[in-house]
């Protein structure tokens, strides 16, 4: 019998690439975040409103991750910022290798902020380091206030929570107070923003946080 003690991380290959990306972005003074949510929470809408608010203030670029189609990249392209599309062809998450390839499609050296919009999924992307500075999780009021408890790993791994679609609060059975309580019980260090991509409420506060991170 030959028994070999291995003790190696299953995702070690991903982590090596992620660390390469992190040092590349750092050496270019680029602040990056990985934007995560379920499908339909408003990730692309938030990216659009963020671009509209920040475009004249700082150089932004976007990597769009989707299971199929480049529809989201088309939406971002119309706003006149550099965008690269990753189509995972059924894959449920982005990995660092996909992000490295996407970075070759844009001239990232001129950027100060890189937004990586992940595939809509609150489970699988949580464990994959993409080389980002931080993870931002987006939860919309239409999804219900129990989601932090149902997907704890995602909320534990993120440093920012955005509660989106707050303009719909009068019409949905959702308590922002409950979302906050549940999310903070899982991750007391979470910074929380409340936004609406329809009325732009909360967008300036969120964008000013990005500016502060990028200018650090």
């Amino acid at each position: 019998m030959t028994l070999i003690t291995v003790e190696r991380k299953v995702l070690e290959k991903n982590d090596v690439v992620a660390n390469d990306i992190r040092s590349t972005l750092k050496s270019n003074n680029i602040f990056s975040f990985n934007l995560l949510s379920s499908p339909g929470s408003g990730k692309t809408s938030l990216v659009e409103r963020t671009i509209a608010y920040l475009k004249d203030k700082i150089a932004l670029g976007v990597i769009e991750g989707d299971v199929q189609t480049d529809l989201d990249a088309q939406r971002i392209d119309r706003l006149g910022v550099p965008v690269a599309q990753i189509v995972t062809n059924g894959g449920c998450h982005l990995d660092a290798g996909l992000v490295r390839d996407a970075l070759t499609q844009i001239d990232y050296t001129k950027l100060k902020v890189l937004i990586i919009e992940n595939v809509g999924n609150l489970v699988c992307p949580a464990g994959y380091d993409l080389g980002e500075d931080t993870k931002v999780v987006l939860l919309s009021t239409t999804e219900g206030d129990d989601k932090p408890l149902k997907y704890p790993a995602m909320f534990r791994n993120a440093s920012v929570l955005i509660i989106n679609k707050i303009d719909l609060l009068p019409y949905v059975n959702c308590s922002v107070k409950q979302i906050r309580e549940h999310a903070l019980a899982i991750n007391p260090a979470l910074k929380i923003f409340e936004t609406s991509c329809t009325t732009d409420e909360g967008i300036p506060a969120w964008c000013n946080w990005i500016l502060a991170q990028a200018n650090q």
Partner: protein
């Protein structure tokens, strides 16, 4: 279903330990999964078994050890094993804690079958 990607990574790491012996076969692989990792052991095993046909891993059994979540309170230094994902010290109510286990996702051991020629 990121278990499929994880099974592929596990196989690719295992392949690095193969010798040049074509008849060599892997008997078992021990994998540690922390409960914070969102990995379904049954799905991982299913994906692994689907990928190992006609290879040195074809008879390999994946043995999964589930690692509980444990954290240490930075206030009173108590170590707790929470039932849920609520990271609050049950002793003093402090939420400033350090996770000490539950994030594992590692291959710990690979065992090869005895060679028929030995």
């Amino acid at each position: 279903m990121h278990e499929l990607s994880l099974a592929q990574e596990i196989i690719s790491i295992t392949e690095q330990y193969y010798s040049s012996d074509e008849n060599e076969r892997v008997k078992s692989i021990k994998v540690k999964i922390g409960k914070l990792q969102n990995v379904l052991p049954d799905s991982l095993e299913f994906c692994f078994n689907a990928l190992i046909q006609n290879s040195k891993l074809e008879r390999a059994k994946m043995m999964i050890e589930l690692i509980p979540i444990k954290f240490e309170c930075k206030g009173c230094n108590d170590i707790s094993e929470p039932e849920s994902f609520l990271f609050v010290c049950p002793t003093c109510g402090n939420s400033d804690i350090t996770i000490i286990s539950g994030n594992e996702l590692t291959i710990s051991e690979i065992e090869f079958e005895d060679s028929l020629t030995n």
